[in-house]
Symmetry: C2
Subunit: 626 residues, 2 copies
Amino acid sequence: MSYRVQFLPDGIEVTAEGSEDLVTLAARAGITLRGACGGAGTCGRCRVMVTGGRVTVGGEKKVAPLEVAACQTVPASDLRVEIPATARLEEHRVLLSARSAGRLGEEESRFPVDAPLFSQTSLQLERPSLDDPGDDLSRLLRALKEQDQGEVYVPLEVLRELPSVLRARDWAITVGYSGNKGRREILSVVPGTEPQPAFGVAIDVGTTTVAVELWDLVSGRRLADSGTFNRQAAFGDDVVTRIIYATEQPEGRRILQDAVVETVNGLLRQVLAAAQVAPDRVWAATFAGNTTMVHLLLGVEPRFIRLEPYTPAANEWPGLHAEDLGLAINPRAAVYVVPGVASYVGGDITAGIVATGLHRKEGITLFVDIGTNGEMVLGNRDWLVACACSAGPAFEGGGIRAGMRAVPGAIEEVTVLPGGYEVFLRTIGGKPPLGICGSGLISALNSLLAAGILERSGNFRRDAATPRLREGDGGPEFVLAWEKETGSGNPIALSQAEVENLVRAKAAVFAGVRTMLGTLGLDLTAVEEVYVAGGFGQHINIRDAVSIGLLPDLPPERYHFVGNTALKGAAAALVSAQARQEMAVVARSMTYLELSVGNRFMEEFTAALFLPHTNKELFPSLAGEG
Amino acid sequence: MSYRVQFLPDGIEVTAEGSEDLVTLAARAGITLRGACGGAGTCGRCRVMVTGGRVTVGGEKKVAPLEVAACQTVPASDLRVEIPATARLEEHRVLLSARSAGRLGEEESRFPVDAPLFSQTSLQLERPSLDDPGDDLSRLLRALKEQDQGEVYVPLEVLRELPSVLRARDWAITVGYSGNKGRREILSVVPGTEPQPAFGVAIDVGTTTVAVELWDLVSGRRLADSGTFNRQAAFGDDVVTRIIYATEQPEGRRILQDAVVETVNGLLRQVLAAAQVAPDRVWAATFAGNTTMVHLLLGVEPRFIRLEPYTPAANEWPGLHAEDLGLAINPRAAVYVVPGVASYVGGDITAGIVATGLHRKEGITLFVDIGTNGEMVLGNRDWLVACACSAGPAFEGGGIRAGMRAVPGAIEEVTVLPGGYEVFLRTIGGKPPLGICGSGLISALNSLLAAGILERSGNFRRDAATPRLREGDGGPEFVLAWEKETGSGNPIALSQAEVENLVRAKAAVFAGVRTMLGTLGLDLTAVEEVYVAGGFGQHINIRDAVSIGLLPDLPPERYHFVGNTALKGAAAALVSAQARQEMAVVARSMTYLELSVGNRFMEEFTAALFLPHTNKELFPSLAGEG
């Protein structure tokens, strides 16, 4: 049996064969549905309206109209399905280095275009003669050796056409090669001494978003960039859910690899079209991503990342070619993956350290990347220590009913007047509120605390005499926006349980920082600068974040937003051998602190489960407040 | 339009679409037709009978029955085509080392199974712990480094499953790697400390024939062998014709590569079936072939091999994988190609030198491989000089109307009684004669000379009063077998022009040997041993060959038949790193003497256009004869 399924309001129709669920069918229609639970049917993120037809939900036949979890629903007739905005993964503010140049400026320009991952060199070979009839390949290798002593590898594809290419312009040639991993591999040989047009792409593969930059490797200029959601998000919100999907679903690993490669290829097509560059001219690609994302991108078994002792398959990855991954560029293009440190401190962090130059500074710097996982690095030019804590998806809107990403309609700032009667909201794009994003949540916590609605323990003050504090389905909740004020017609409220989630998340980050400092016997005052990296970091108000105890209490001038440093680092690796060299050194020399070893982290975590902290002395600048 | 074409007597029918010729269609039916001219329509080898239907021959419509050159003929209706035995490339005595162990014995056993191209090593890795959570790949590399200092490469395919494999038997593993070209590349990692069954194949790719041996790489034993015609023979008899086909026909290079790979794969299927070995268990393959055959096997542009200054694309080939060539074994299997010396002295000769151990002997040895090309090496453990002459295909039956390969029915020995009235013939398999092969031609020349029918100049003695010497279509000819005596009903005769062909061929070989000796200032007596290699060498009578002046006049005990030394060398390379190392050294250190430079060769050649030679003093042992 095959059915026609129409998705609205997009108006796209697909044909359903067999037992594909609505998430799969929507994906075929180009619509990515949310799915925090990886298709388990427990998170309710993918709820859609079936407005016409019959379906099977968990084995049970049902008739429209009804609301269903798309991941549990299979068509039993032709269907009409409405997809509400809440179920849809939409384009949002994906951070690109061009737009997110933090206060540190365009750090990647610090790396000269010294030796792109794909470099070219022109040669005039000696013509053979009856006295010197040596073979073509030896002639090429001899000329290359005169330039450089390293080992050179010439693959069969190049060798096949070498005789004609050498003779096309009387033994004048331009050789394109990859300097990946020390071994010089010839990727192209063309006639003449003019370098051929050559381009490269730098790619940040995040759990949630993917961003790409296109560079001209001859001029050393950035030509275009683009970003979008990682299509893997349909299979789970965080790395753990994805690992479970990859290991427990049939073909799960392949499906996730395809999803991220399709995401990347879509972006590549965009930037190539924008800059009018043919895919075959792209000879190099660099990737920075967390350890799980890299495993899934490369199709490597990720199972043991989440099992003690948390061992990744690799931290340093072999040099690859585009065809190994199915990238929509020249199949022979060199692919470099920024090396990682451990299962939960990946190449995105290595890239960030090198892009910000933290590893060259004399003073001690704290690098914080708060996302679904919080990664933190402390160090200077002499030493580097890294740790990671599972902040959970709360700050990205996960585990919060009204949570959403930073797209138009998301509440990003909350002001609660004392007493809790009046609330002022600021939303992205000034639209009627649809939900609340990370910066809004931090702002809300801070404001509720200041207004006396929240106690320092994170409990609502039950005696607060405001109608906004009410008993909801899941216990006490504070209403940020009433039904009539929202874009969806549903109220936006924050429950006691959700607040506890947020408190645990901020406690994990703060405890991670404290544990690093404590292990090293350092006082917070030793930290001269704080770099706040990543998408989330762009939107938060530092004062709010300090006030709830998410970030340590340091003078605001020590804080710097550094933007998408993973992408900046990937771009540096694309154009600079020095950057690649520094990344190898940084990844190898960084000490990974496993927080689950010993009691210190748990003690710090427990102590941080207060707003801002059980020990108010840690937040001297807040003295007299709240 | 599509037509059905039935080939008889095989009874196989194929569908012809478009303008495919009968050679192509026969190939689709699995029938390989002869074709010395590469489809030019000039050699007449592929003549077949069209017994029903209409055809287009060279643009002209014709109606059956008629005899046509298959390469010039395209169906114009449904067809019936009879293929006579004379047009068909048949299985023949392909030389395998097992059968052709020359008087030097099983030389390849001289190479211990020291390090097969695919070797295995068992390791017990340290388990990771929270104190030592290093990644899986580093753990593997560390353990390998403790064994050996060389660079190790782990490809993505292996890395993908590494985490599961390491943990399957508690960190005990067996690593299979290739030692090709110094770089240790991991090809497989399996759980446990037992070596996995692993096999390798040694392949001799000759212009005319291809032979394969299957080896057990764990026990170091040879399991099976097989040989057949090179399917490329349908596109030309010699390397020059094939190069022209590859460069001038659309897709010619691809067609020739496919033909030889299909030939090899057919043999691989045979030996694997015979030994009951699964293709995926074959982890290594070695090839020895002349320079043109290697170019065509690898799909490398061969155009410049035949153009002055005769420069090959490469003499030393990069390490390859089975999937690069489409071999029907494990796609990741290591492929090693024996290095060559020059365009006309290839890896088959390098393999032959190392297999015979010539490069280790104190005394000077002459190595002669007479085929379509004659290759000769002179040297000892201190120096090696090689040259090649185009003997032409005469000794393999080319350019001789009755010429055929050494298959049943071929005349291999001729005795002409004085006066030339009576002739005794010996044929392979004792069958009625169908034609004459190389050893038969040498025997015939010698016998005609002895019987006084041939003058030393190579001219028939017109005054000989035998009816066997008659005026044929192409001038004077000597009838070896009358119509009624032959298997085909056609007479077998040798014409004046054909004799001249043979004289030129033998003169080229002899002049090559003399030129080498003369260039080095050596006398023939300095040559302590002569190794006669290759298929042709197996069948000839040394005394006959000396008598006509093909081989130099040395005592018979100095001559040794060494068999298929290309295959022996390929097998040595398969099991022994020492053999591969020696081949690299031999190929690099051998001095190639280009015979077309200077006058010496032409002078020697002209002087050798007599039977046995203009200078009878060079053949003292023949004094008093003829």
